[in-house]
């Protein structure tokens, strides 16, 4: 009996969660404004209750999928009795309604985590943070209940079977990609809430940045992994061998990532030096707004893209309104409450501060160029000025030089000191790295590909520059420890042997190293796979063979087979190479029975230095098949680098500094916020 009304219970749980979200949005903020502890204390139980009821709602939708309850419209549209169980569970976020539910669930999960791990925050700060998150949550819960209820029933005409999950989404990559991406998107709501809370409380000192930094890093790491997973998924699932298409939906996830990258750096400056305060708050607002914009772009159906999640217009209007209210309100609060007195701590032309400023400017410029290319067609269309699209050449033409510039300064940043850095010393320490990078980058392509390629040289140059300058920095720190900015600011000249300095390096430092090296690895991947990619489309019949890039591909067998919810044509391709053992690859063309959709299942032979990629095209008139055969050198490095970046972000969070946070925040509350010796001065009272 209970099972039959599960969807209604889920629906009811959603409504209860909304009620709690509204309370969480209003009461604690009011309490903080009027200094009533009891009202402020409302925030935590409401966040917990909200989380609980959203988990219940989510579980009941999942149960409807697991039990094949096709009277629920969403289940009927996105599942099928033949679907394997693990895809039934991931089908919950396979389409619009469920993925918005996942969005809100993750949001309440973040609120829950904030209320658990930030118990030592000043009471009014916590109340304000959770209050702001309550507003966001209320908005999205209203959105679900009013426009995209996943529990809607198809009664009384219940379909006997479901329409099946889109075959593209029946894949491991897509089981994990959306949750990761959403963890990132939604995670930026935490830093946004902290920034808002600091503004509302009028305490825009460096303290809020210290509390917000770990949350921001974690969200950023999730987003990085989510984007990498999306790229990996597109690579093997779409069957063209591309890994980034500058597709609007991809851009929608890249935008908050770029802004978020700028944010984690400017948070560092604000925390350490007390400068960039307003800028950091603005970035926090923009980063979260771009997350909302991303949600709008993907979920509103305004985009023509490979993802093609299309929907009815009222949803788009609703999210656009949410976006407008969020941006408008937060900017209004910023305008009203931002500190007018500027911070007094200055810095020289060449210093870590100025390099981080350049980093921020470049990242923001990159964000704006991507934003322009993504929404320009939409704006023109909305204004009735014609339908256009902006091609990848636009993005490449701007993104590549900007990245190059960014990397140039990224090499300098970690070695520069706060406040002032003599240019001569920087040149002395990095001259060697620069020369080695130039020479190796010029020579390596000749050894690898036999021909000179400007793109590869540039990519290698940047990657080597990043890696070598970091290596130099670690070397110097290990040997002397003199350049180590100990948190006391005292140079340590005691001799501890050759590598004694290594022990003193913090996890936060290693996080930076791993993250920056990750970018270098990704750049190597991009440069190599873009320029040394071998790609051939061929006709092949069973018994024939073809040579591509030194490998011999022979189609030895061709047969049909049945999967759980599809039939497939499977080719067996034997790949040989002189002097190496041969192996087989089995690309498939699948036909999904319930939805009637064909799908290409790519055969991959992954390797650290090169992937082989074989995809079946179509059956031609005389029984031949068209085949897409590609050699993708270093393609794995793309995603490996992204994983390293994410790992760097996480490493920095588990630094001891944040574990000791409670005591420090106690000190901060009494306005002794500046550790002696960092040279930062407070600009606001």
């Amino acid at each position: 009996m209970l099972i039959r009304i599960l969807p209604e219970l889920g629906h009811f749980a959603l409504i209860l969660a909304l009620a709690m979200a509204v309370l969480q949005a209003i009461v604690p903020l009011w309490g903080a404004a009027t200094r009533r502890p009891l009202w402020m204390a409302f925030a935590q139980p409401m966040a917990w209750g909200q989380f609980l009821f959203l988990v219940l709602a989510y579980l009941s939708l999942t149960a409807s999928f697991a039990l094949d309850d096709f009277s629920v419209a969403y289940v009927a549209n996105n599942s099928n009795s033949l679907l394997p169980w693990y895809y039934k569970l991931s089908a919950v976020w396979g389409s619009h309604e469920g993925s918005v539910l996942l969005w809100v669930l993750i949001l309440s999960g973040w609120s829950f985590a904030v209320s658990l791990f930030s118990q030592r925050l000043p009471r009014d700060m916590l109340a304000r943070v959770l209050g702001v998150m309550g507003w966001i949550s209320s908005g999205f819960l209203l959105f679900i209940l009013l426009t995209s209820n996943p529990f809607e029933r198809l009664l009384p005409n219940v379909p006997t079977d479901g329409a099946d999950l889109n075959p593209l989404l029946q894949d491991f990559g897509l089981i994990v990609h959306p949750p990761m991406l959403y963890m990132g998107y939604v995670g930026f709501s935490v830093v946004f809430a902290f920034a808002m809370a600091a503004l509302l409380g009028g305490r825009l000192d460096a303290a809020w940045t210290r509390w917000a930094r770990p949350w921001t890093n974690v969200a950023w790491a999730f987003l990085t992994v989510g984007i990498a997973l999306g790229s990996w998924w597109a690579y093997y699932e779409l069957g063209w061998g591309g890994w980034w298409f500058w597709d609007p939906v991809e851009n929608a996830s890249l935008l908050p990532w770029l802004a978020g990258t700028a944010l984690i750096h400017s948070l560092a400056v604000t925390e350490k030096r007390g400068t960039f305060k307003n800028w950091t708050v603005l970035l926090a607002i923009f980063t979260f707004s771009l997350s909302l914009l991303g949600t709008f772009l993907v979920r509103s159906g305004v985009l023509t893209s490979v993802h093609a999640f299309a929907n009815d217009p009222s949803r788009g209007t609703f999210i656009l309104a949410l976006l407008g209210v969020t941006v408008g309100l937060s900017l209004a609060i910023f305008a009203l409450r931002a500190p007018r007195v500027q911070s007094l701590a200055g810095f020289g032309w060449l210093s870590r501060d100025s390099l981080l400023l350049i980093n921020n400017i470049l990242l923001v410029v990159m964000t704006v160029t991507v934003l322009l290319g993504t929404i320009y067609p939409l704006l023109l269309d909305a204004l009735g000025l014609g339908k256009i699209s902006v091609g990848p050449p636009y993005f490449n033409a701007l993104f590549v030089p900007l990245t190059a510039l960014l990397c140039l300064f990224m090499g300098l940043g970690p070695l520069a000191r706060w406040k002032r850095m003599p240019g001569r010393e920087l040149a002395r320490r990095l001259g060697g790295a620069a020369i080695v990078a130039v020479v190796v980058a010029a020579v390596l392509p000749l050894l690898y590909g036999g021909s000179f390629s400007l793109g590869v040289t540039l990519g290698l140059l940047l990657a080597l520059w990043l890696a070598l300058s970091l290596a130099r920095d670690i070397f110097d720190k290990a040997r002397r420890g003199r350049f180590d900015k100990t948190r006391r600011g005292r140079p340590d000249r005691s001799r501890r042997g050759r590598l004694g300095g290594l022990k003193k390096l913090t996890l936060a430092y290693w996080g930076m190293v791993v993250g920056h090296l990750g970018l270098a690895v990704t750049i190597v991947g991009v440069a190599m796979v873009s320029h040394y990619n071998v790609e051939r489309n061929v006709r092949l019949a069973p018994g024939q063979s073809v040579e591509v890039g030194g490998y011999q591909f022979a189609m030895t067998d061709f047969r049909e087979r049945r999967g759980p919810n599809y039939t497939a044509d499977t080719a067996t391709i034997e790949v040989t190479r002189p002097g190496r053992a041969s192996f087989t690859m089995q690309p498939e063309k699948r036909f999904y029975v319930a939805s009637g959709m064909p799908m290409t299942d790519v055969a991959l032979r992954p390797g650290l230095f090169s992937d082989l990629y074989v995809a079946l095209g179509e059956r031609l008139d005389n029984g031949d098949w068209s085949l897409r055969i590609q050699l993708k050198p270093f393609v794995r490095w793309l995603w490996l680098g992204a994983l390293m970046m994410a790992a760097g972000g996480i490493l920095a969070v588990i630094d001891r500094r944040y574990r000791r946070m409670p005591r420090r925040s106690a000190a901060l509350r009494t306005h002794e916020s500046i550790p002696p010796g960092t040279g930062a001065r407070e600009g606001i009272s």
């Binding site: 889109n166 593209l168 069957g239 159906g301 023509t304 490979v306 093609a308 299309a310 929907n311 410029v365 160029t369 322009l372 290319g373 320009y376 014609g386 339908k387 256009i388 699209s389 902006v390 091609g391 050449p393 636009y394 033409a397 701007l398 489309n537 061929v538 006709r539 063309k589 939805s595 009637g596 959709m597 064909p598 799908m599 290409t600 095209g617 179509e618 031609l620 008139d621 005389n622 068209s626 897409r628």
Partner: protein, 151 residues
Amino acid sequence: MRAKRQRRLIIVVGLVALVAVAVGLTLYALRANINLFFTPSQIAAGEAPHGRTMRLGGVVEKDSVERESDSLEVTFRVTDFAKDVEVRYDDILPDLFREGQGVVVIGQLDDAGEFIAQQVLAKHDETYMPPEVAEALKATGNLPDGSVPSS
């Protein structure tokens, strides 16, 4: 104080100059890479430029797909049921490419009026009709029943 003000002036002028250069380059890159959308009728009327990358949208005409027997080259006609355009493509067609279904083709018109495709897009959804195509067909009154633009 004066020196400080002067320095600030230099910074501001420098920033403005940088922004101007950046905006100029961006707009130039944008202009050079915009792909306009055309329907077969517009192309037949000579509205589309030759030798520029654009997007063509319509429905693949029934029985118009022809393949070479020894290569992957394929030709087909894209129609909006008023006019049609001959498209030539030398690559693997997407899984959902079918006669009678909506496609968007990215490519260039050659001098003979043939459309040389660089990329053919057929959406990953059987009931999906690219919105531009649906709109174009609606304009000529030829939107087939049952195909909802975006569903």
